[in-house]
């Protein structure tokens, strides 16, 4: 019995490790391949000037989803939908200086405390759908609207080793979770 518990514990730890790594893969699709419910929501905002609108089917481990990407008021947006077209969240790429100073400081204090060095690569505001789909989408398009979370890709160095993580911080800069991201490989361009 003890052996079985031990084995189950090891299996559970291994699966947790597997889940904590980002394994995202995107494939470009046409508008017709998007769930109709997702297109219906986007159509309600037709009067907005969404530029370079593209659609993707995304897998992240076992999770499958659809994404609409576009540029609006100089910000890159990605709107994620479930397989049946239900809005999951809206992510908006922002610059560091667009973050409230207090949030920025809280995030930097956390990273300084936990790593030897770090570099913020990509900052996104995340607006989660809380049931009122249109309202969530509308809010994400506003300027200066407080998001639910900040999703940040950070390159870090710790004990002479280099990693890339995707961090999730709340609106005040409190750490929520992190997962490892595969490092970009450049060697095939260098050698």
């Amino acid at each position: 019995m003890k052996k079985l518990t031990f084995l189950l514990l090891i299996l559970f730890s291994l699966s947790s490790i597997a889940q904590s790594k980002k394994k995202e893969k995107e494939a470009r699709i046409s508008q017709n391949e998007m769930p109709p419910k997702a297109i219906q929501l986007l159509d309600k905002f037709n009067e907005k000037e969404f530029k370079e609108k593209t659609y993707f089917f995304e897998t992240d481990g076992n999770k499958k989803s659809y994404e609409a990407k576009f540029i609006y008021k100089k910000h890159a947006y990605s709107v994620e939908f479930s397989e049946d077209g239900k809005l999951q969240d809206v992510e908006k790429v922002i610059r560091k200086k667009e973050m409230p100073t207090s949030t920025q400081e809280a995030i930097e204090v956390y990273l300084e405390k936990n790593f030897d060095a770090f570099k913020l690569e990509k900052i996104q505001e995340q607006f989660k759908d809380k049931g009122k789909t249109e309202k969530t989408f509308q809010e994400s398009l506003q300027q200066n609207e407080t998001p639910d979370n900040y999703e940040i890709i950070v390159q870090v160095r710790k004990n002479q080793q280099y990693f890339v993580y995707e961090f999730l911080f709340d609106a005040f800069g409190n750490f929520k979770k992190k997962r490892k991201v595969d490092k970009n490989s450049y060697d095939y361009l260098i050698f």
Partner: protein
């Protein structure tokens, strides 16, 4: 739309370069297949091993096959910042297999800075090399390369990327007059698996343009495996 634009652009460039080179004297067409293995992990150290062969297939209006050399290479690199690494390497060229020529050893020191801006990956490379053979030649070269995915925001498995590079080469030595050259390459990178890329395209070299210019067109074919 974007994909067909790049495909057409690549085709036009290839045809343009082929015909402009074809019209010139002192023109050589070469093939240079390469297989390389890059080993990288979370430590700052990474390694690259390669083997390549170069053959002349066309020279001054004559189709001709002439094997030139077989080359083995190794580089050890150390990451020195989030986006930069320094490398030291050695390349050994076996010329003797085909001609009664001395083999060549090259020592290479390199600094590279690579970064991804949205969809585009860019890489700057500054390389110093010492070519040790019957005479010693010193080489300084700088190359800028970028890769654009032809589908989506990054090149995933079974997808294509378009790579363009431009390089300046300055060569000098005790027994030779300094000479300059430029190299331009354009090739497609097909990611067969997540860690395996096959490159196919061309590289155009305009060499020694300050004295006796000559041109070379290389057919690029490389299999690059990352472990």
């Amino acid at each position: 739309m974007t994909t067909s634009f790049f495909k057409n652009a690549l085709l036009c460039l290839f045809l343009l370069l082929f015909f402009t080179s074809h019209a010139q004297k002192n023109f050589t067409g070469l093939i240079n297949p390469i297989v390389s293995v890059n080993i990288q992990n979370e430590t700052p150290w990474s390694y690259s091993f390669g083997v390549s062969n170069r053959d002349i297939v066309y020279h001054n209006e004559n189709s001709d096959f002439e094997p030139l050399f077989l080359e083995f290479s190794h580089y050890t690199s150390r990451q020195i910042g989030f986006n930069s690494k320094v490398s030291a390497g050695v390349r050994y060229r076996i010329n003797r297999l085909f001609e009664d020529e001395q083999n060549e050893t090259r020592l290479v020191e390199q600094y590279a800075y690579a970064k991804k801006y949205e969809r585009i990956k860019i890489a700057h490379r500054l390389r110093l090399a010492q070519r040790l053979r019957e005479k010693t030649t010193f080489r300084t070269r700088y190359r800028f390369a970028f890769e654009i995915p032809l589908k989506g925001n990054r090149v995933d498995a079974k997808e294509l990327g378009l790579v363009t590079s431009l390089e300046g080469v300055w060569e000098f030595g005790k027994e030779e007059i300094p000479n300059f050259g430029v190299r331009y390459s354009n090739y497609l990178g097909y990611r067969i698996l997540a860690n395996t890329i096959f490159n196919f395209g061309f590289e155009y070299r305009y060499r020694n343009f300050t004295q006796n210019p000559y041109t070379q067109l290389f057919l690029v074919s490389a299999l690059k495996i990352s472990l």
